[in-house]
Symmetry: C2
Subunit: 458 residues, 2 copies
């Protein structure tokens, strides 16, 4: 017994002296990521510290892309590039003030919504008309808001799956456009968010064809609540506000998608696409939204490669200008339309733990779906039955009707931070970030070593 | 048995038909406050909504006093007055920017400290020198900071008793003065606070006699952490910052202390003084600091009176200009020096639950101390052995060496909110506010009905 053990050790030592040690298994590499991955943290710490906010189409956005290109090259990615595209660029400007003048005088914290028009530096002063919901605003008679500022409220509570965004979001997405179509001078909304800090939540707002944009701002939740209390205490007295927002349209500027690859053993096979977006709103440093997503995608690609060169190429896409209109996602889909991809995943919902795996090939390729589900179960990820549809940055996958995987993250605190000044590095829990990297490593590694089609029927 | 019960009820009904029903006992009134007091909430909701920030010595401060006078009169207080005093007034101005220029370019969230000088609207640009602690700054050679901006860090964690303020506070209290004495152009500190939001914590900073004030700002904790990471990533490269802070000294203006009384049955007895401060820093709406304190004091005085007119007068003191130099407390102590008070209490540590009762007459008047301790035990308040010293607004009690009671509040989240934009109504937990009112009602009622001296030996 003893002798044979010694012989075995000797044999093992001899063979490791003769050849390089074998790479860790994919499972071991994913477990290692869970315990001590530092790649993702290095990426998100680096870009939030050395670049910070990356408002799409601006100089800071360009610096962010340059930074990401350097990071990918430094970590050994191939074919690293900043692929340019043309975009329409909106910037927030410097003056963001909302001052209630009567019946009570007090400043409220406000930020412009993406796409907002300017009030000019002198601001506008008008009576505020309150709407509890977008539906109430929709019901207001045509022309009834002439000369008024429309205030739009809503109710939103945190949910693990982020589903309340669908209910509360329209206050931001379409509220200003509806108010403008009824003659409003401007709109302020209760931020679409769930935190109680002096954080305005910005985000894009859209104006219908033929409706000229008006100034549109978001109040932080404490400020919106204060304004609503003012209405309650005002009785019949009008509530008047001076609103000053000075965003500007810069016209056409150049944005870019940053890409890089882990080259597969058979580069002729369609690649695995791991996506995120690199731009952020100007208020925060783009940690949760979406520096973390790019960090997870890049770390997973590197980790998968560390368990042996994958069969398929793994491509990372750090999309540009997602926040201001999916300019990067659309440009990538157009530029690469003729290059089939095997499967796409996107990380753009913060950095909290992944709790569910969904695919769009559960029925077409049940063996692969089940294999992935079993492989990620040890990280606390359940096998979902939803049909994955992917996020904003993987238009190309939907265009190509190819395989898509959604690795659902816990969104309970996502809308505390979404599009606010508070989207900063300290909000990222290193342990949960590593769980994301572990799951992505496992999934990317399985996909990149799958010889057959991921979604056979398409 | 049944007959005698009927007779008893009949007797009780008859006596209540003959005379007004007796007032509730003090205990019943305090229990009622715990369950459903609305007076304190009405006060703090009202002043934060109808006035908002009340920077000492400004027009908003004047409106705050006017509002408080009206509230006290409306609720039946006697001798309501706004007692004026002269003060030196500092205002924050409009431009508050900190922009790191190199080696990484990014804006940081900053607010001026009270007493800060102005950089002028064009700002100043200089290299930043980092100090981990005030002691490290103290150790810097004379003149070594010439032409530099000193950054001062510290470590602070939340504590129930707020004791960490004593360790971390000097970074704000004296850091700028020390830096100025060594030639620094300006100072930025890590906010003296415990939250991780983009909240700068302002507060007064003092410059030594003969040292000219320099511009002094506080970075939010996420921004301070970001700046520290920049230092770590900068290596040998200097970190340069453009700092723009435009506060102004307005010279001498008029502030005021708002007072009011529940007149006792024997107004010749020294009164019970319930204090708080009415002013707030400009950033928040002065809910936790210290609208809640005035709400608690006023509600307790009214509640105590509802259990029968007290023997002694209960006076409330809403001190003015506490934040910018205790102007109101000093003015009150000087103006009323000749009027003995029996005992003083102050509420100025937020609105979370009271957990300990301390007095400075535990040895001189053990029976009364024990009686109060027993009476508040049912609200979860323990009997403390510290010697109460009171807060900033009751200088008069220390001057008179009279009785003082400290009703210690849970300060675990106090320094998340202290002197920040986040000091808003939504941070007040109505149930904990009511517990404060209940305890204060009980204590004020006992004290106001005590015929003998509260602190006999003085």
């Amino acid at each position: 017994m003893r002798k044979s053990l010694v012989a075995l050790v000797a044999l093992s030592l001899a063979s490791s002296a003769l050849a390089a040690p074998p790479p860790p298994t994919l499972e071991a590499q994913a477990d290692h990521a869970l315990a001590e991955d530092r790649l993702a943290w290095d990426f998100v710490e680096g870009i939030t510290t050395e670049v910070g906010p990356r408002q799409a189409g601006t100089e800071a956005d360009r610096r962010g892309r340059e930074w990401a290109v350097a990071w990918l090259k430094r970590h050994g990615f191939a074919k690293v590039a900043d692929e340019p595209f043309e975009m329409q660029t909106w910037v927030p400007g410097d003056l963001h003030r909302a001052e209630v003048l009567s019946p009570f005088a007090q400043h409220l914290v406000v930020a412009p919504l993406g796409g907002s028009a300017s009030t000019g530096p002198d601001g506008i002063t008008a009576e505020v008309v309150k709407f509890e919901t977008v539906d109430n605003l929709r019901a207001a008679p045509a022309g009834s808001l002439a000369g008024k500022i429309a205030y739009i409220s809503h109710a939103m509570t945190p949910t693990q799956d982020g589903s309340q965004y669908g209910f509360a979001g329209p206050a931001r997405w379409v509220g200003a456009g509806i108010a403008a179509s009824k003659g409003a001078l401007a709109t302020v909304i209760k931020s679409v968010g769930t935190d109680w800090h002096r954080n305005p939540h910005t985000g894009g707002t859209a104006f219908p064809e033929g409706v000229a944009p008006i100034p549109a701002g978001a109040l932080s939740l404490p400020d919106a609540a204060n304004l609503e209390r003012m209405f309650a205490r005002a009785g019949d007295r009008p509530v008047t506000m001076k609103l000053t927002l000075t965003p500007r349209d810069l016209g056409t500027t150049t944005g870019g998608n940053v890409v890089g690859e882990i080259t597969g053993r058979d580069p002729s096979l369609p690649p695995v696409l791991l996506a995120c977006h690199l731009d952020s709103w100007w208020l925060g440093t783009g940690a949760f939204d979406d520096g973390a997503g790019c960090a997870i995608a890049a770390a997973a690609a590197l980790n998968a490669n560390m368990s042996g060169q994958p069969l398929r190429t793994i491509r990372v896409l750090f999309a540009g200008a997602e926040e201001t209109g999916l300019w990067g996602s659309k440009a990538y889909a157009a530029a690469h339309a003729g290059e089939p991809i095997a499967v796409a995943l996107e990380s753009d919902f913060g950095a909290d733990r992944i709790w569910r795996f969904d695919s769009n090939f559960r029925e077409d390729n049940p063996d692969l779906h089940a294999r992935i589900a079993r492989a990620v179960a040890r990280f606390g990820v359940s096998n979902g039955t939803e049909v994955a549809t992917g996020g904003a940055d993987i238009n190309i996958a939907r265009d190509q009707k190819t395989a898509i995987i959604d690795l659902q993250q816990d969104g309970t605190r996502y809308f505390d931070l979404h599009h606010t000044p508070d989207d900063t590095l300290d909000k990222i829990d290193p342990a949960q970030l590593r769980q994301n990297v572990a799951v992505w490593t496992q999934v990317a590694g399985i996909l990149a070593n799958e010889p057959g089609p991921i979604k056979p029927k398409e």
